[in-house]
């Protein structure tokens, strides 16, 4: 897995703004299927 940054904005507006303005950013829920796909290097995020 390539190193990535993790951010936890204080509110929904902050989260939306951050993801909208960051290439390759994505929302993380419980982990399925982002974490497992990143581990297989099928998904890559910053």
């Amino acid at each position: 897995v390539r190193p990535f940054r993790y951010e936890r904005p204080a509110d929904i507006a902050g989260a939306v703004a951050l993801v909208a303005t960051t290439p390759q950013a994505v929302f993380l829920g419980g982990g399925t299927n982002l974490v497992d796909l990143m581990r297989l290097e099928l998904a890559e995020r910053q």
Binding site: R5, Y6, L28, T32, D36, L42
Partner: protein
């Protein structure tokens, strides 16, 4: 995906998590799973690494009271969380009844999936208590022993036992909880 970019440096973040009632503060790589944090950093090897991609349930722990696969939970995303592992359930005595039922019913062969089965069963019983429906009984039909066994099978379907001790696992949980 073939990547031509050189690897960026690891991203390290300080976090605090309450694990089995004890506050733990440590610096983690953002890529570290909660499972690796428990096993590799804190020496809590009760939660097992089976598949490491959320299919087997051997790593099941309770996060803020709800069962979850620790292998898919990023440690960094659980700042401030309350995590209980099978070791924690032993300490609080919450496991006694269930563990005894597992022994009486011989609900294992190799035992590798057992910590996950136990944590998951505790979580499942809490869900039943809280009135959460399951696919097995959502139509509200039927009652009695068969329905209970069907309920246990459905609610424990996230925990695989490669030895296939399922009949005994289901019997143990049904006896301990329902």
């Amino acid at each position: 995906v073939e990547s031509t970019n050189p690897l960026p440096p690891p991203v390290l973040v300080p976090i605090s998590v309450r694990i089995n009632g004890r506050e733990r503060s440590l610096v983690v790589d953002t890529r570290m799973s909660l499972l690796d944090l428990l096993r590799e950093r804190l020496g809590l090897t009760g939660a097992k690494k089976g598949c490491d991609h959320g299919q087997c349930g051997a790593c099941t722990v309770l996060i803020d009271g709800r069962r979850a696969n620790a292998c898919l939970a990023l440690a960094v995303a659980h700042q401030g969380a309350e995590v209980v592992t099978v070791e924690g359930l032993v300490e609080t005595g919450e496991l006694r009844r269930l563990a005894r039922a597992f022994i009486v019913h011989d609900a294992f062969q190799c035992g590798y999936c057992t910590p996950g089965q136990l944590c998951s069963a505790v979580g499942a019983l809490r869900e039943v208590e809280a009135g959460w429906p399951s696919a097995a009984t959502c139509d509200g039909e039927g009652e009695g022993a068969d329905v209970i066994l069907e309920e246990v099978r459905e609610r424990m379907s996230g925990n695989i036992c490669r030895c296939a001790a399922y009949p005994n696992i289901v019997a143990a949980i049904a006896e301990a909880g329902w």
